[in-house]
């Protein structure tokens, strides 16, 4: 054994001193040649010189030989490593196959843990970490403004501010763009008008394409000429639309399409994968701002810009703030400058990714934390199983060590087993992650995750899974490895299985693992209990309308065809009349804002009896336009007063209805009926004819809005005043979804070129409003169910094994007169004590962890006592069940058997 360990001998064999060997070999050659020359009569010095001359460049040859030799070395080493890894893996697999139950349990638990972690990491990576799919995405920012006006705090850009910034903010910004999204009917010019299709489009400034640095797949993008308000109509289409609607026509550029009634020339096709601002955007048209006719105060455009290299978002915001005061010098405005100044409009510049991702970040990090906990529980459980296994193998190992096996061999064995199992678990985990991501993509759209289309399992995620797998392997084999260092062969071999105290020490380690598992599981369960409470609170929120039996169908009249109020109102009247006559329909109405959607609309409201101080900023309130039957159709009770009169396009009826909270804010203690308000600073007043019950318009989480309703026909000093994009709402006594075809037929009859879209029962929209909460609840719920099951298995396992170890002791006790009850208690008490420790630790952890859930909870505090107590109780019950089973088993031992059977 003086040769040293096996690997050293192999090393000596495979790794001769490369340089020395080459030198020796070449020296031998030169010496032999010199000898030959000496024999022929040369003196030694000339013989050596002649040999060298004949040889050529010795140093060059030497270098080449060393290089070649080293190459060979490396290859041999790799081969050797690979062979030995394969050897170890083969032994490990053989050993593991001999214990199929153990192996299956470990692989399953690791697969669950790694799969969950990988899935959520894939989502986090795709949404939060990965840069946006544009060139130099770090320089992209979104532009907006904050404003100090009652009702709103953040606004976008107005046409005048966009033009102003484009003109003057050129120091920090390379390029500034604006856009507005809309759904439009898109059809092929000259083709059957019925082929029109509803697609999401964006009206954009030509600079958008230079900001995002995208180039078209065919044709060109918009240029500055297309920005002029009198430019000929042009459009860009996305690759998907091009393939679907135009069959990938190679001659598409130059053809004409109809976008919402406007004839436009297709100038280019955008490449696959480009969809901005929304993942559904598939056509672009120019915004066509007219610098001579701007609307300073109407902040209806989203801003996006590219910073110059080296400038921060803050620097950009500072420059915009410097430029903004010139707004009124350069653009005509319908609102007084003083009012604008009082609103404290301040530019906000934010990295574009943050703006897109919004508030999902917190949600995703919490989910990642949750699955990390799950993985930790799985690892603890597996580590515990490994300990048991190590125990079983202890005698083997002691014998092997007594026979001279090194500790490193034992460590290698554990590591190899752990790695083989973790690899299998990791593979299973990646498989689960693939399924998980697919399931997420199909998940209720209401979870509303941005960039979900970019989420996938790619090499980065696979690397992550590999890393997690390796860490898990190390984690689970750590304890047995550490302990194997303590194995003293003499002690183990002497300590026969007759000893009652065998493995006490190991049981202690496993008990610690169980406590950790229970604690971690409690944190997860506490999280999902809180989510469950939020969800039930949210479900208890009364939306303010009665969603049952209500169908909503959207339709948009192209302004190019339906140019006048009278034409539009004529269509609406016919729709309401015919829809109302459908069998089963009790009422029908039209509105521009379906509650619980992002149809959002708000505006300035002034009240006759609340005169504003000169140049004060008027309050801003959400506004809904609705036909008279709207309140009946949606089941919104009128607290007092009546609904609108039948609207007449020629003669606005000048009526208004306000929500209860609006009335209470401005006319507390008096009747709102008869008060006069207007949605403008000037113009005719509208009389309040009714007060409607409160409705949640934006979301269930936010308090009901202070809302104002106007009739569909309103006075307006310029432009059309009857909305063009509306929703038809129907109330039926039957199934609302079954009405959709009839509704479609009615629209088709009135104008075959009008597509209907977004047909949904109102109940689906209400369900969608709680979708994010439900999504988090589902994810956390699944994680905690698995965690709970694993914790239970862990506790059960440690107790059951304890019973096996203490069989003799139990046998003696029973022989001495202990009753079944005594034994059951003895075992169960231990399990419950462990669980209680875990619950106490977990409670502290939960109190620390649930704080991060603040933004996701609704109606419960992160330290909600009911949720926390409930969680503890649940864990306790689970612990009792897990303890009772092994306790029963212990109690049913036959003492004679237990004592005899060793």
């Amino acid at each position: 054994m003086t040769l040293g360990p096996q690997w050293l001998r192999e090393r000596r064999f495979w790794r001769p001193r490369v340089e020395r060997d080459v030198d020796d070999e070449l020296a031998f050659h030169l010496a032999a040649r010199a000898d030959l020359y000496e024999q022929r009569g040369l003196d030694p010095q000339s013989a050596r010189d002649a040999a060298r001359a004949r040889f050529g460049d010795v140093d060059d040859v030497r270098d080449r030989c060393i290089t070649l030799s080293n190459e060979r070395e490396r290859r041999m080493k790799r081969l050797e490593l690979w062979m030995s890894a394969r050897q170890h893996a083969r032994y490990a697999v053989r050993r593991l196959l001999a214990a199929p139950g153990f192996s299956a349990a470990v692989v399953l638990m690791l697969a669950l843990g790694i799969g969950a972690t990988t899935t959520v990491f894939g989502v986090v990576d795709g949404i939060l970490l990965r840069p946006l799919p544009f060139r130099e995405p770090d320089r992209l920012v979104s532009l907006a403004h904050t404003i100090q006006v009652s009702g709103i705090s953040k606004i976008d850009l107005s046409d005048a501010t966009v033009l102003l910034y484009q003109r003057h903010a050129t120091h920090a910004f390379e390029s500034i763009a604006a856009y507005r999204t809309a759904d439009a009917n898109v059809g092929v010019a000259g083709a059957d008008a019925m082929m029109a299709e509803r697609v999401s489009t964006a009206a954009v400034t030509s600079s958008l394409f230079s900001v995002l640095r995208v180039t078209p797949m065919r044709g060109r993008v918009f240029g500055p000429d297309d920005d002029r308000p009198d430019a000929p109509g042009v459009a860009l289409i996305g690759a998907a639309l091009w393939k679907r609607k135009f069959g990938g026509d190679p001659g598409i550029v130059g053809k004409r399409i109809i976008v919402d009634g406007v004839n436009r020339e297709v100038v280019g096709v955008m490449p696959d994968g480009f969809a901005y601002p929304a993942s559904s955007t598939s056509a672009w048209v120019p915004l066509g701002f007219d610098p001579a006719k701007t609307n300073v105060g109407s902040f209806n455009f989203k801003g996006v810009a590219r910073l110059r290299a080296g400038f921060t978002a803050d620097a950009g915001a500072r420059e915009l703030a410097q430029v903004l005061p010139r707004l009124f010098d350069e653009f005509a405005s319908e609102i007084p400058r003083k009012m604008f100044d009082q609103a404290h409009v301040t530019p906000v510049v934010q990295p574009l990714r943050d703006a897109i991702v919004g508030d999902v970040g917190r949600l995703l990090w919490i989910l990642l934390g949750a699955v990390a906990l799950l993985l930790a529980i799985a690892c603890a459980n597996v580590a515990s199983l490994f300990l048991v296994r190590a125990e079983g193998a202890q005698r083997d190992i002691a014998i092997r060590m007594a026979l001279g096996a090194g500790r490193s061999a034992v460590v290698t064995q554990y590591l190899a087993e752990a790695l083989v199992l973790a690899a299998a678990g990791g593979a299973g985990g990646v498989l689960l992650a693939l399924l998980g991501v697919r399931a997420l993509r199909l998940a209720p759209a209401g979870a509303d995750l941005p960039r979900l289309a970019e989420v996938g399992i790619d090499t980065r995620v696979i690397w992550f899974a590999l890393g997690v797998t390796a860490m898990s392997a190390l984690a689970v084999s750590l304890l047995p490895v550490l302990r194997s260092r303590r194995v003293a062969p003499g002690v183990v071999l002497k300590e026969s299985s007759r000893s009652a105290t065998v493995g006490r020490d190991r049981q202690r380690a496993r008990s610690a693992l169980v406590v950790a598992q229970v604690a971690l599981a409690l944190v997860l369960v506490a999280g999902s209990t809180l989510m469950a409470r939020s969800f039930s609170e949210l479900r208890d929120v009364k939306p303010g309308f009665d969603p049952r039996g209500v169908l909503t169908v959207r339709v948009a009249l192209p302004r190019a065809t339906y140019t006048t109020d009278v034409l539009r109102m004529g269509v609406f009247d016919r729709v309401i009349e015919r829809a109302g006559a459908l069998p089963g329909v009790t009422s029908a109405a039209i509105t521009d804002w379906i509650p619980l959607t992002d149809d959002h609309n708000d505006g300035v409201i002034t009240m006759e009896d609340h005169p504003l101080p000169p140049d004060a900023v008027p309050p801003d309130h959400p506004i809904t336009y609705a036909s008279p039957g709207y309140f009946k159709t949606l089941g919104i009770p009128l607290v007092t007063g009546r609904t609108f009169e039948r609207a007449d396009a020629a003669r606005p009826s000048l009526e208004a209805i306000v929500s209860r909270s609006f009335a209470e804010r401005y006319w507390k203690g008096e009747s709102a009926i008869g008060k006069r308000i207007r949605s403008d600073l000037s113009g005719p007043w509208s009389t309040v004819v009714g007060v409607a019950a409160d409705v949640h318009m934006e979301s269930l989480e936010k308090p009901a809005e202070q809302l104002v309703y106007f009739p569909l026909v309103t006075p307006n000093k310029d432009g059309p005043s009857v909305p063009a994009g509306v929703a038809i709402t129907l109330r039926t006594s039957g199934d609302p979804a079954s009405l959709a075809p009839a509704m479609r037929a009615i629209i088709h009859e009135i104008d075959p070129t009008l597509p209907t879209f977004d047909e949904q029962p109102m109940s689906a929209r209400v369900a969608g409003a709680a979708a994010r909460t439900r999504f988090v609840l589902l994810m956390l719920g699944a994680a905690s169910a698995i965690a709970l099951a694993m914790g239970m298995v862990g506790l059960y396992g440690v107790l059951a094994y304890g019973v096996t170890l203490r069989r003799r002791e139990i046998g003696v006790r029973m022989a001495l007169g202990a009753t079944v009850r005594d034994v059951t208690r003895m075992i169960a008490r231990r399990g419950i004590a462990l669980a209680a420790l875990g619950i106490a630790a977990g409670l502290l952890g939960a109190l620390a962890a649930t704080r991060f859930m603040q933004g996701l909870l609704y109606g419960v505090s992160p330290t909600d006592p009911i949720a926390l107590v409930g969680t503890c109780a649940l864990l306790f019950v689970v612990a009792v069940i897990a303890s009772w089973l092994p306790a029963r088993r212990a109690a049913t031992l036959d003492p004679m058997e237990a004592l005899r059977n060793d």
Binding site: R33, D35, G56, V61, L68, R72
Partner: protein
């Protein structure tokens, strides 16, 4: 006296394989053998023999082992592996074909070409 250049790829390798086809030898022995059988006409730059040996060893055509030379010095002996033996046979026939073809081509006259073309 025509001499082959130092690194006509394949030439040295073929010579080495042939040299080892009778018995294992060290580098100097191989060099000596080539010198003797070719009447010193194929005088390779002796140094370039060694990289060729290392390359062949990396390919697995020959194997190396340290031993003791006839005059009692430590020397590295090379021997042909079974793979090397197969490669030698293949290379030999390739070389023969090549030489035969070249000789025919060099012996060709315009006439023979035009006759063939007809």
């Amino acid at each position: 006296m025509p001499k082959l250049g130092k690194d006509h790829y394949g030439t040295i390798e073929l010579l080495v394989l042939k040299a080892l086809s009778w018995e294992p030898a060290h580098g100097f022995g191989i060099s000596r053998w080539i010198e003797l059988v070719s009447n010193d006409e194929v005088s390779v730059q002796e140094g370039s023999l060694y990289p060729a040996l290392y390359r062949l060893e990396n390919e697995g055509w020959i194997a190396a082992e340290w031993g003791v030379s006839e005059n009692g010095r430590r020397a590295k002996f090379y021997s042909l592996t079974s793979l090397g033996r197969r490669m030698l046979r293949a290379e030999e026939s390739r070389w023969t074909t090549f030489v035969a073809t070249m000789s025919r081509v060099l012996a060709a006259t315009p006439r023979t070409v035009s006759e063939r073309g007809r």
